[in-house]
Amino acid sequence: MKISWVDWNTVCSRKEVGGLGVRRIREFNIALLGKWCWRLLEDTDSMWFRVLSARYGVEGGRLLGGGREASMWWRDIFALCREEWFATHIRRSVGNGRTLDFGPMFGVVERSLGSGSLDFMI
């Protein structure tokens, strides 16, 4: 049987737009690593955050890059977390996001993803 070749880009597109829904490796890689950025912001009690903060330090709740001394792995993750797409798709909300109670002077700070902001093939 003769099959007609299609551009790999088309194969990886969603079925709704005429593709076959195969994962794009690069985007999938970035999406998976993006989870690191998210967890390191969100779950600061985790062992990973504690290890990395002991090694590289924290400023304003965010881990520092460590410069040239940092491991290759952390350099990659850190660079990714600093990319624009990540910063523009997270937001910080105080309290429950709608009302803010100033009674006790500690509000729970949480970060949440804007809905439908990550247009990745996952």
């Binding site: 099959i3 790999w8 076959l20 490796i25 998976l32 989870k35 290759m72 792995w73």
Partner: protein, 133 residues
């Protein structure tokens, strides 16, 4: 060290298989490491080593780092009689098996673009040609 491991065995009910274990030192003299390993009845390991299927201590920016992963995909492909599979069958295998193989590594390391394209070209050849070219 042995005492700690024995304590762990007693507490958890798990048993350490020393014959399968490796002792890896970080800033430790190799003579001491060798002695400790023979005391414990285990082997001396070196960085990088594979732990839970992931290479530890390697440099993910090097292409050679990714060779085990590429080979894993290759061996999977060579075991399949891909030419006798329909296009639909190959698509199912591609989506369910082949693109899942690298997930664990990709969830931890950033793949260099050369590796991304060689994985994609492997998948591409499998899908359209039913083998490796």
């Amino acid at each position: 060290m042995r005492a700690i491991l024995l304590l762990f065995e007693a507490l958890s009910g798990l048993k350490v298989n020393f014959a399968k274990s490796q002792l890896v030192g970080v800033n430790v003299a190799s003579s001491w490491l060798g002695e400790a390993a023979s005391m414990l009845n285990c082997k001396v390991g070196a960085i990088p080593f594979v732990y839970l299927g992931m290479p530890i201590g390697g440099n993910a920016r090097r292409l050679s780092f990714w060779n085990p992963l590429i080979n894993r995909i290759r061996t999977r492909l060579s075991g399949w009689k891909s030419k006798h599979l329909s296009l639909g069958g190959r698509l199912v295998l591609l989506k369910s098996v082949l693109s899942s193989l690298p997930i664990y590594a990709l969830s931890f390391f950033k793949a260099p673009s050369g590796i991304v394209s060689s994985i994609e070209s492997l998948l591409n050849c499998f899908f359209f040609l039913g083998g490796e070219w």
